[in-house]
């Protein structure tokens, strides 16, 4: 399962139970993010612990972080799926916002490299 445009790629690798993000995500509004939410939901249904690898996601706009927040909340409410976030110290927004997501779901395991 993969969504690719000239700006970004989002794909789900079931074997690694990981959703990979790459490039520049700046879709216009929450509705535009629906296809990506679908990918995340499929990942959440198919694994007891899922990983979102955003090391190569250089840019994420506010709609994007909202989408991610809501997904985290929905995962927390489900209660039976663990979440690992992989990010990069070299990308400024990741060092701040990914840590903030832990406030919504304290059990998030954060790996910043």
């Amino acid at each position: 399962m993969e969504i690719t445009t000239k700006d970004y790629s989002v794909w789900y690798d079931p074997e690694k139970a990981t959703v990979f993000f790459k490039g520049f995500l700046r879709l216009d509004g929450m509705e535009a993010y629906q296809p990506i939410i679908n990918v995340l939901n499929i990942a959440a249904e198919n694994g007891s612990v899922i990983t979102l690898d955003m090391k190569n996601l250089e840019f994420l706009n506010s709609s994007g972080i909202s989408m991610l927040s809501m997904f985290v909340v929905s995962l927390r409410n489900k209660g039976n799926v663990g979440l690992v976030l992989k990010g990069s110290n070299k990308v400024l927004w990741q060092t701040k916002s990914l840590r903030n997501l832990q406030r919504l779901m304290p059990s998030i395991s954060l790996e910043l490299g």
Binding site: N100, R103, L104
Partner: protein, 608 residues
């Protein structure tokens, strides 16, 4: 039920009995009625009570249900409240997160934008300073100068510091140009490539191609004017005209050249076509799969076809159809692919009628730029005749070699062939035998020369076989005499024994022959052993011969011998006396040698 003493009770005693009865009957009726009423009243009251009770029951149940419902609603409300509170907290958190995220990204983007702007300004400055084109930034299209690059300062004849005190309009020849530009640029955001005449600070005129663009500089809109000094226009136009004429001339020359080359090409093509058509050699092109895709008339003729077209239609897989040896085409292809070409490759091929001929072909591979094999080109000659001649020649050479070997010992023949100069060798230990058919010359008187030679040939041929058998060397025949040597040209330790065995064998062999009148032939044999000189002399009719005393004495042993006997010298006797039987002849006068002791060789002693 007893009587109730109602208020209407009449004193019976005061009445007559009839009246009394009537009264009583009335009273009974009334009582019955009362009773009935009571009955009804009672039933009504009971029914009513039941109804009331049921109603109360229902009301009670409703109340109970209502209480339960209320309780439930309250807990639901509680739960909703909890969820809502949590959602509210989540949404607040998400909002905070989003805002912070936005701030971070905004900060990041701002920093980057500032950096990009700084870089682009630097870039602009660098380009502007490096450019040979004059660049001027003004507030209005021809207004006061904000920035001018070095090229502009030079063109306008002002120092870079002073130039900021001028307007660009100061340098335009036409006084109303600034106004016209202002008007034009109200509609357009740029004017590109128009020519204007300017004057520099020293009042010298110049022509320039100008362009004006509106650009944003640090958030402020300004006008960028570029002036490309085109100098003396006439000079430029003249140069242009000249270069155009030159180009036309070059184009004309080029065209002539191309025509000339084409003509040359056409001629050489014709030439090659003619060579191709008239060549006596077959010429072909064959595809990697073995299809002949081009063939000349000579090839068709060699392969036995009526025309090249017929040949090309027929030969689609030469590996199977053409070459007699099935793997031949594969061998040739491998070779040519490896080395690029192959010359004079001889193969047997089938002609159209199935006959087999020898061809000699030279092949080369033709590849495209990517090194893929396009096809193979080759030339073919029919070498069947040549091949036959070659076979004949080989046969003749073999024959002459065999002949040479008959005349000379192999070792000597090889030496001669190698061109060894040495013609004679000294051999210390050899044994020489002479044999002569007794009275053979007398036979010549009674039989024809042909018959004579025939019988001589038979006898000598049987001797030749014996000589071969013992590995000895026949030197020659002289008339009816036969000469053999042992230990030559290769030394042999038993040369005396071998010659003795040959002599005994020859004496046995001769008994198989008879004269036509039935009388037997007799053989006189002489043997001597010692040193000889051996070699080939002369330039023609090579003959290997022996010289020396040993040869002479052996010849004398034969000449002074007796028919059917073998005469040997003392030396031979000494060598053989232990294993052969001899009979001493005594002293014999030998021509040129005086008297010698000789022996008759009788036979080989049996091992027992």
């Amino acid at each position: 039920m007893g009587h109730s003493s109602s208020s209407g009770q009449v004193d019976l005693s005061a009445l007559d009995p009839l009246d009394q009865i009537t009264l009583l009957q009335q009273e009974v009726l009334a009582l019955r009625q009362l009773n009935q009423d009571l009955q009804v009243t009672l039933e009504t009251a009971v029914e009513h009570g039941d109804a009331i009770e049921a109603e109360l029951q229902q009301a009670n149940q409703r109340l109970q249900a209502e209480i339960a419902e209320r309780q439930m609603a309250q807990s639901t409300l509680q739960a909703i409240l909890t969820t809502v509170s949590r959602d509210k907290a989540d949404l607040e958190a998400i909002l905070n997160l989003t805002v912070e995220h936005g701030d971070t990204v905004e900060y990041h983007l701002y920093k980057r934008a500032v950096e990009v702007m700084r870089q682009s300004e630097e870039l602009f400055r660098a380009i502007a300073e490096a450019s040979p084109v004059a660049m001027v930034l003004t507030q209005t299209p021809a207004g006061s100068i904000r920035y001018a690059n070095a090229a502009a300062a030079q063109l306008l004849g002002v120092s870079e510091a002073d130039i900021l005190t001028y307007t660009l309009g100061d340098f335009y020849q036409e006084p109303d140009l600034p106004d016209r530009l202002q008007q034009a640029l109200k509609q357009e955001s740029s004017l590109v490539g128009f020519e204007l005449q300017g004057k520099n600070a020293q009042n010298q005129a110049f022509w320039a191609i100008a362009s004006i663009h509106q650009v944003s500089l640090q958030g402020e809109l300004v006008w960028l004017t570029t002036l490309y000094d085109i100098g003396d226009r006439k000079q430029i136009e003249e140069a242009l005209r000249q270069s155009q004429a030159k180009l036309q001339e070059q184009a004309r020359l080029l065209k002539t050249l191309v025509e000339y080359r084409e003509e040359q090409l056409r001629q050489s093509e014709e030439k090659y076509r003619s060579i191709f058509e008239n060549s006596v050699e077959g010429i072909y092109q064959v595809s990697p799969s073995g299809h002949i895709i081009n063939a000349n008339p000579a090839l068709a003729r060699i392969y036995g076809y009526d025309s090249p077209a017929e040949l090309m239609a027929a030969l689609t897989d030469i590996a199977k159809q053409l070459y007699v040896q099935p793997s031949r085409r594969a061998e040739l292809t491998v070779f040519v692919n490896q080395f690029g070409s192959a010359s004079d490759m001889e193969s047997q091929i089938y002609r159209k009628d199935g006959s087999i001929i020898w061809i000699s072909e030279s092949i080369r591979v033709v590849r495209d730029e990517a090194e893929h094999v396009l096809h193979y080109e080759g030339t073919v000659r029919d070498v069947t005749e040549h091949k036959q001649m070659e076979a004949e020649l080989r046969q003749q050479r073999l024959t002459s070699e065999r002949l040479l070997l008959n005349v000379l010992p192999q070792k000597v023949a090889e030496q001669l062939k190698r061109g060894t100069n040495k013609i004679a060798d000294h051999f210390n230990k050899v044994t020489v035998l002479f044999a002569d058919i007794v009275n053979f010359t007398e036979l010549a008187d009674t039989v024809s020369p042909n018959e004579l030679v025939d019988i001589l040939n038979e006898i000598f041929s049987s001797f030749d076989s014996l000589v071969d058998h013992y590995g000895l060397e026949k030197i020659k025949t002289i008339g009816d005499a036969y000469m053999v040597v042992g230990g030559l040209p290769s030394p042999h330790p038993r040369h005396v024994e071998l010659i003795a065995d040959l002599a005994l064998g020859m004496q046995r062999e001769i008994t198989r022959f008879q004269r036509h009148d039935g009388t037997p032939f007799y053989l006189r044999i002489g043997i001597h052993t010692g040193p000889v000189i051996a070699g080939v002399i002369g330039l023609k009719k090579f003959a290997y011969d022996l010289w020396g005393d040993t040869v002479n004495i052996a010849s004398r042993m034969e000449a002074h011998g007796e028919p059917g006997k073998i005469q040997v010298t003392q030396t031979v006797y000494e060598r053989l006396k232990d294993s052969y039987d001899f009979k001493p002849r005594g002293m014999t006068a030998i021509k040129g040698k005086g008297k010698m002791t000789t022996y008759w060789l009788l036979g080989k002693r049996s091992l027992n």
